[in-house]
């Protein structure tokens, strides 16, 4: 049932470019999709291990900058005085490097902060995001600072010397976004449905009990941080090569907050939650823009968010799942009553 729903939804997503017509709408969907991927990665940490990364955008930004810089090439004076010159690299390689570097950053943050969890993790991740932003702003030599990195090459595929395709258009970028989204979803799904994901949930639910049955808490928190950061890095790389310009604003705190909102309203700790929340809050602002002035947009946005959190505190997906199950249960129960009555009247057993 779930699987059919998922595949149906995927088929729908695949079909969109064929009938949507308006390229601007496709652009909105690509942007929303990038946020959904970010939200899915955040959910692995927040929803499954219970750790709130309020600097999640740092991993996104690291992926974006790494991939941009490598694909453009750069030269920079190193700390020890020498000059480091790197020529332009293929986009796919730059993109992978962005994922790896973001994952490494996740590993680093995980190692240093999981000794002091909870509030400390929140503070450390926020600080980390601020630091990365300051680096992007001030290391002008490398990042061009507020001037932004421009003319970043888009995704492309090639058979060297024979054939090459470069993806400037919305439609191919939409499908690239979709492919990365699907891969991220599968990675997260496999992880959380495995023994490793159970260990993550166990330490969220009851850490002493988890330790007492042999679960190495630090190890699974770090694993979640690495995978989460790597996927956020992929979203960043995707953004870079789609928008083709990146400046220190990719590190804005509001982007992290947006992802947190998506995860919490959709339902943290569920696979579909960040997708549902991400689509609502990724697309909603654009729809509102059609009808309202900027102030009214924000008020409506906030009102929708508050309404969801108030009425569905666990998020939309868990609420829907519960509703569905309860309906099924009551239907089963009434079926049982009917068949039960039929059976007893047919046999007419005397009372025991």
């Amino acid at each position: 049932m779930n699987r059919a729903l998922g595949l149906g939804f995927l088929a729908f997503l695949v079909s969109i470019p064929f009938w949507i017509g308006d390229q601007y709408l496709l652009h909105i969907l690509i942007n929303a999709g990038i946020f959904v991927i970010g939200a899915m990665s955040l959910n692995l940490l927040l929803g499954y291990t219970g750790q709130l990364s309020l600097g999640h955008v740092a991993f996104f930004g690291i992926g974006a900058y790494t991939s941009a810089l490598l694909s453009l090439g750069f030269d920079v004076t190193t700390f020890w005085g020498g000059e480091l010159v790197v020529g332009p690299q293929p986009v796919w390689l730059s993109f992978l490097a962005g994922i790896v570097l973001a994952g490494l950053a996740g590993w680093f943050i995980g190692r240093i902060s999981f000794k002091v969890r909870g509030a400390y993790f929140v503070i450390i991740t926020i600080s980390f995001a601020e630091v990365t932003k300051l680096v992007a702003l001030n290391w002008v030599d490398l990042t061009e600072g507020p001037m932004a990195l421009i003319s970043i090459p888009p995704f492309s595929v090639s058979i060297p010397g024979i054939w090459e395709a470069t993806f400037y258009g919305k439609t191919p970028n939409y499908y690239i976004m979709l492919a990365i989204g699907v891969v991220s979803y599968i990675v997260i799904k496999r992880l959380v449905n495995s023994r490793l994901g159970r260990a993550m949930v166990a330490l969220r639910e009851n850490e002493p009990l988890a330790m007492s049955v042999g679960i190495d808490v630090t190890r699974y928190l770090v694993l979640a941080a690495v995978v989460s950061a790597a996927i956020a890095g992929a979203a960043g790389g995707l953004y870079t090569h789609y928008v083709r310009i990146v400046d220190p604003d990719v590190f804005l705190f509001i982007y992290t907050v947006t992802m947190v909102i998506m995860v919490i309203t959709g339902g943290k700790g569920t696979l579909a939650g960040p997708i549902v929340g991400g689509i609502i809050f990724g697309v909603l602002p654009e729809i509102l823009r059609e009808f309202m002035g900027p102030e009214a947009q924000w008020v409506t946005y906030g009102a929708v968010m508050i309404a969801i959190v108030m009425f569905l505190p666990e998020g939309i997906v868990p609420a829907l799942t519960r509703f569905w199950e309860r309906r099924k249960e009551s239907r089963d129960a009434s079926d049982r009553m009917i068949t039960g009555r039929a059976a007893s009247s047919a046999t007419e057993t005397p009372s025991e």
Partner: protein
Amino acid sequence: MSDSTSANALSVDHVAVHFGGLVAIADMTFSVDRGEVVSLIGPNGAGKTTAFNVVTGFLQPTKGTVTYQGRQVNGLKPHQIADLGLVRTFQKTSVFDTNTVFDNILIGLHRRGQRSAWEVLLSLPRVRREEEELRAKAWDILEFVGLDRQANSLGGALAYGEQRLLEVAVALAAEPSLLLLDEPVSGMNPSETSSFMDLLAKMRERHITMLLVEHDMRMVMGVSDRIVVLNDGHIIAEGSPESIQNNPEVIKAYLGEGAEHVGN
């Protein structure tokens, strides 16, 4: 008691635990042999739970050493100690509330899985095979403790007595060679207690070594090979259930808080 020490599974050697100025355990030495059921008893605040915390790595002793099967355990982290087969339950009921009973057991089975993150991400056939094995084992354990019919209930939704049973089942899933139970029947009604004693008897048949902390004297006297009595951070007596029942020191220690239980 046998004088051979070679069979010692667990040795607690001159352990002391201080919390600031408070001496929770002054000097504690005892051992548990393989296959034995040993009870650690004593009045409230005697230091029994503290002893469990030291043995399982949740606390570091101020002095002394703990060894298990010849290896020093103090200094290791709780999960490393669990990996040696030393698994404990908690005095205060502790299950994974929002997970189903079945998932509680699967989490408990963590140690029996081997597959790495890469294998999981690639969804290799051996990952699926392992998962099936773990699930089969989980059913075995649920049937063993008699919770199979509650498999799909949430841990937090079980009746109190069943939750206590689930705790033991989760610990059993971790494949203990020495199981430490901290007041497993506290709060259970008499019929739950006696079915729990049946379960203990079944665990014994499986040669699971046990260290038991319990206030229910009927149970302690019924299941223990040997009893260690702790009072105020000191071991005041040790021996067979009969000898403990008639030990004047023990009776004195319990006076005013249930002396009538000892010896009946």
